[in-house]
Symmetry: C2
Subunit: 280 residues, 2 copies
């Protein structure tokens, strides 16, 4: 099958970025959301990304204009999916809400449509039964589309194996590097490694082995990396970091979560609030 | 106190690199070893590094020649330490051997000499009693001197606090980035983070969540990093990786150690043998 029409569910940060890249890659894109205000924010985000891509000479003005011409917004879900060859769902990370959205899509989407979820933390098997087409449903998870260009293809046990090469090809056409997560795994591939590494840094800090700066230096200088673990946590957001960490069972994670909580309670959420472990 | 004369114990890879950088930084360096063959290997290594530094325009030919003029080898330990302001010990990673070496230094080194160990895995407190001067003894741990320029300063409980700024300054003069490990910690700062991250990658592999290549891609593309975890393991050496991993108590580490063992048994040790997870 050939993918031409893409339906994005949810006009948030990721939905907008995926939608814009799809349009840049030549697909016809419809972005659906329940709130008109989301579209204004989405257009602002896309406009900012477009400026960056033009400045970096990744795309010309004409290419960007053509992409914007292929992208439209709608509050009507039936219109959004009417022609869709594939759906990429980026609605709020809430299990009940996502189940409800997929139950609705099961009713209104054409038979041809491939269903994919961009969920960060849920497993596709928790949604599959609601899609009405579990064999044609798969997690297809983007990182940030324009800088970290990995897309995780993560089937659930019922996903049709024939879907994998189709998504692999689609991912490449979206300028991503597709990787296959052969069985369901919370956090796909990258988060498992990232969380272990950040947790080890947190353990060093809460055990007062070294300062934030020295722990970061140790990582950055050894790996010639632009950021150390605490700068990465600031960029992720300390509220998000706390949310993940406080659910982990071990004593070191609990202690690190307690430390993160003091930052969050003080309004220090990282880059987005102007201060976290560092000031911005 | 001013450091002018440096004594290196052990003419292996790290001893040679530390000694050569010290000579490049203007110090007078004596490298001691028990085997004359070590000196020939050491000179070959240093000659190779010198070529690289000259090619990269880090040092001129004259600077390199002057450095080589400040560096000498000796099989006589009394001569090696006679003028030493500081000792950097890089002998084989064997507790009893290191204890024996420090007991000997306690007898023959001048009173002024600062004692440091470059141990990777041992704690300085396991050697302190043998030095005869525990307050003037500290771990001072290099990574590879020329690419990963972190030096860990890790005191044991009896180390005199006044030693820290002296080592910090000495580290900077050796073109390193000094970091303070405030209390003894196995693996200093970096290894704790590295092992967690590599362990998480190993867990993904042994649980058959993804291929070696896809796990590496996920890390590299997300972080724009030159190497993923399995390429890093190949560069560390799979024998060393097995040695560390098989001592860890958890089931995932045990499973990963068993996998590493199959590579080691097949002679696939990573970069140094021409094949590990990848071919070189």
């Amino acid at each position: 099958m050939e993918i031409k029409h893409v339906c994005i569910l949810g006009a948030g940060t990721l939905g907008s970025r995926i939608g814009f890249q799809a349009a840049l890659s030549g697909f016809w894109v419809k972005i659906y959301d329940i709130k008109e205000e989301s579209f204004i924010l989405s257009q602002k985000m896309i406009s900012k990304i477009a400026k960056g891509l033009f400045a970096a000479e990744t795309y010309s003005k004409d290419e960007i204009a053509a992409a914007l011409n292929r992208l439209s917004y709608t509050l009507n879900d039936e219109e959004a999916v009417a022609e869709a060859d594939i759906i990429s769902e980026s609605v709020t990370e809430d299990l009940a809400l996502k189940q409800q959205v997929w139950a609705r899509m099961a009713q209104i989407a054409p038979e041809k449509t491939i269903f994919t979820t961009n969920t960060s933390y849920l497993l596709p098997s928790s949604l599959a039964a609601f899609t009405g087409r579990p064999t044609r449903f798969c997690a297809f998870h983007f990182h940030d589309v324009f800088y970290s260009k990995i897309v995780d293809i993560m089937p659930h046990p019922e996903t049709d194996a024939e879907l994998i090469p189709i998504l692999d090809d689609f991912g490449k056409r979206l300028k991503q590097v597709p990787v296959l997560v052969k069985k369901e795994n919370h956090g796909y591939l990258f988060n498992a490694m990232l969380l272990s590494f950040l947790g080890a840094a947190g353990k060093l800090l809460v055990n007062e082995v070294a300062t934030i700066e020295d722990i970061d230096k140790s990582w950055m200088v050894n790996f010639h990396a632009p950021m150390g673990p605490f700068a990465i946590l600031d960029s992720i957001g300390l509220d998000t970091a706390w949310h993940v960490t406080h659910q982990l069972p071990d004593a070191n994670s609990k202690a690190f979560a307690a430390l993160l909580k003091t930052y969050v309670d003080a309004g220090k959420l990282g880059e987005k609030s102007g201060e976290g472990f560092y000031r911005y």
